[in-house]
């Protein structure tokens, strides 16, 4: 699975599970905090569980910098797969 496919699947997951509208979510859109997307820490758990289940990559205890956006999550997956 290449980088673009991973990002596309991450986006699909975030939209379908966390209720984010697809048309406001780009790969470099900030996901958490005061960003328009505004995901919270509970949402990050969903992402951690998804990444673990889908790619077998453990993101428990990983720094916030890896959850900035879809780009950074995908980069972490690729680096640790």
């Amino acid at each position: 699975m290449n980088e673009t496919e991973i990002k596309t699947k991450l986006k699909e997951f975030i939209c379908s599970t966390l209720g984010v509208e697809a048309d406001v979510l780009e790969f470099d859109t900030e996901l958490f905090g005061d960003s328009p997307i505004g995901l919270d820490s509970v949402d990050s758990l969903e992402i951690i569980a998804y990444v673990d289940g889908e790619y077998g990559v453990d993101m428990t205890g990983v720094g916030k910098e890896h959850f900035l956006n879809i780009d950074s999550i995908a980069a972490y997956i690729l680096a640790n797969k």
Binding site: L45, E46, I48, A49, D52, D58
Partner: protein
């Protein structure tokens, strides 16, 4: 098929939990750290009763080993339904005689180990939005016994952890409870002198020590669907000693 992991399951309360849960229909992963022979006996007993499971060697105070264990068990069975956080040690000492190596060992296994296993098991349970975590606490978590500051502190931490995790994970379909046994007939109690045993018995309203199987029965109850509205609780079963 439901899958349970019992840490520290080669002897005592952990062993009884593993055997009971297998009778309840769980496929049981019998975690052990050193006693492979004892763990194998537990698995043999499980199989003799018509159950199924595996033994898995892992030091649960080591996060890397916990991650590998949970990953392997999840991969083998496809799911994890129940974690019984049970592995623990007792290193009683009065404060001024306290050995800091013992303090570290207790904190690593009795507290950090519970965090590690809960985190990694919850990660797998999260996927299916269901699961149960049961933490083995102790009446010492509430009761002040001189010489047990370290053990009491670790079990107090387990009680707090239980309540907070119940709140964090409840919305994801994961229940978290604890069992706090009093004096249970295990190797630790059996090693006491008759005089010491009698001294303890005088303080227990039921005038007997509990049995590991009785603790396992509470674990079985907490894991079951009939108690699916119960979370964040510490169930004390101590023959009344804490009253």
């Amino acid at each position: 098929m439901k899958v349970a992991i019992v840490t520290g399951a080669s002897r005592g309360i952990g062993r009884a939990c593993a055997v009971r849960l297998a009778k309840d229909g769980y496929t049981v992963a019998v975690n052990y750290s050193r006693s492979e022979e004892e763990a194998q006996k537990v698995l043999s007993e499980i199989k003799a009763n018509g159950g199924d499971g595996m033994i898995y060697k892992a030091d649960v105070s080591d996060l890397a080993q916990v991650k590998q264990m949970i990953r392997d068990i999840d991969k083998q069975y496809g799911q994890i339904d129940l974690l019984v956080n049970n592995a623990g040690i007792v290193r009683d000492s009065f404060l001024l005689a306290l050995n800091m190596g013992d303090l570290d060992s207790c904190l690593d296994l009795n507290v950090k180990g519970y965090f590690y296993c809960a985190q990694q098991a919850a990660l797998k349970m999260f996927r299916r939005k269901q699961g149960v975590i049961i933490n083995m606490s102790s009446v010492s978590g509430e009761l002040a016994l001189a010489g047990q500051s370290v053990y009491s502190a670790t079990k107090g931490a387990v009680n707090s952890l239980t309540r907070v995790l119940a709140k964090e994970l409840g919305g994801k379909g994961i229940r978290v409870n604890a069992v706090a046994p009093g004096f249970i007939e295990t190797e630790m109690i059996n090693a006491l002198s008759d005089e010491k045993k009698e001294e303890y018995l005088q303080n227990i309203p039921l005038h007997r020590f509990g049995k590991a199987e009785e603790v396992a029965a509470v674990v079985s109850m907490l894991a079951g669907e009939e108690f699916s509205y119960l979370t964040g609780q510490v169930i004390t079963m101590d023959g009344g000693i804490s009253l």
